[in-house]
Amino acid sequence: MNVSLTVNGEPVSADVEPRRLLVHFLRDDLGLTGTHWGCDTSNCGACVVLMDGRPVKSCTILTAMCEGHEIRTVESLEVEGRLDPVQQGFYERHALQCGFCTPGMLMTARALLDENPDPTEHEIRTAISGAICRCTGYKNIVSAVRWAAEHEAAVEQEA
């Protein structure tokens, strides 16, 4: 079947099997391997992408269900060599070790800050509760998201 959707701002039209999961469509058909394919059971959050601005688990969404919708993946965060503040925050606060959970964490964090630019530690922990990191113990991830929030607020004030 034919599916037309928007991926990272670009219109995409493709012939897919109805059972094609979004995570495999992004990785294997579009070559966007930044989105990681983890537990395959909607528990780990490595495959989180944004669908119309809201974080969703792409291992539990059919590509066919994305017809007419906007998907945003981790590849869209960096623009012309400039890291998104959440990426910079992960760098500054050493919020990754193996990096497997990072794409999902980044997209979950991006969606949180888009909705709530000044989240508390509790709100950050709640937002990322659907994403599992086996390296960091989450402390540095929470710190990185706070770094991004403060950095974005500062940039906004300057502007």
Partner: protein, 290 residues
């Protein structure tokens, strides 16, 4: 890699079209909304429908409103919208209690109330919530609508009153004065299924409990409607002693199974403790309620 077995896919543009497709295709057709129960089952090949009818475009089924003395919730209303609804927070705050602990926020962006109720998993929170608040569900078929009480909705594990060629379209909760409600759950970690969960609703009149609703999740083959506890509570003044008696009934009337989440004795004890806590909080919330 987990991949569902092949199936045909179509997107419904109206409820009538979805019902017509269910009738046309027959028992191999399934409705898909959020997909967060159905797709995992299809990936494990526990479910192998040959035809999916996607109802995500039916935004006319996504609403929470008060009409004719009832809260009406469309079947396609997502968990995140139930969690954030000011109307529900004011009328039936147990919805927000439950939603805060259903799966995780990312899953709650997709999953729907209709899907949760129709999945009819005994450990699913909204079934206990809807049972406690004496909800009714609207089931639509080619011949029109029928309204089924929550206690008649779950026929067995993973089985509901929704028949062939029918779909659930709405949940209705009657608004009555003096209401207070709460949902309590203990889980091993964020996003896990409940070890046990309890929903309670009380309707007060002149210092006495005019009506009560109590239901348990995850401690039986289906959601457990605690009719005996409700009977005990009706007509009595709320007190710690009364709630302790209702909690004892909860421990007796549940039928948990031992598994990785705990042994039977522990789950019975927990069902009682959570029932007591839910009743206590529901009672506190009746104060100031119209």
């Amino acid at each position: 890699m987990q991949t569902p077995a092949p199936f045909e896919y179509e997107r419904a543009t109206s409820v009538e079209e979805a019902i017509a497709a269910l009738r046309r295709v027959g028992p191999e057709a399934r409705i898909i909304a959020g997909g967060h129960s159905l797709l995992p089952m299809m990936k494990l090949r526990l479910a192998t429908p040959e035809h999916l009818i996607d109802i995500n475009d039916l935004t006319e089924l996504a609403y929470i409103r008060e009409d004719d003395g009832e809260i009406r919730i469309g079947a396609l209303t997502r968990h995140v919208d139930l969690e954030r609804s000011e109307l529900l927070a004011r009328r039936f705050p147990l919805f927000a209690d439950a939603e805060a602990v259903i799966a995780d926020p990312v899953v709650r962006n997709r999953g729907t109330i209709g899907g949760s109720l129709c999945q009819a998993d005994a450990a699913e929170d909204l079934s206990a919530v809807c049972s406690a608040v004496k909800a009714q569900v609207v089931i639509r078929g080619a011949e029109g609508e029928r309204v089924v009480a929550m206690e008649d909705f779950h026929v067995g594990p993973y089985t509901t009153a929704v028949g062939a060629g029918e779909m659930l379209t709405e949940v209705r909760v009657p608004v009555r004065p003096g209401a207070g409600s709460a949902h309590e759950k203990v889980e091993r970690r964020a996003g896990d299924w409940a070890i046990a969960a309890a929903s309670a609703a009380l309707w007060m009149d002149d210092g006495a409990i005019a009506d009560a609703g109590v239901a348990l999740g995850a401690v039986g083959m289906t959601t457990i409607h605690l009719a005996r506890a409700e009977e005990l509570l009706r007509g009595r003044a709320p007190s710690e002693e009364l709630f302790a008696q209702a909690a004892a009934i909860a421990s007796e009337d549940c039928s948990p199974r031992a598994d990785g989440r705990g042994p039977v004795d522990y789950k019975r004890h927990l069902a009682g403790v959570l029932t007591h806590r839910a009743l206590r909080r529901a009672a506190a919330r009746t104060k100031g309620s119209g």
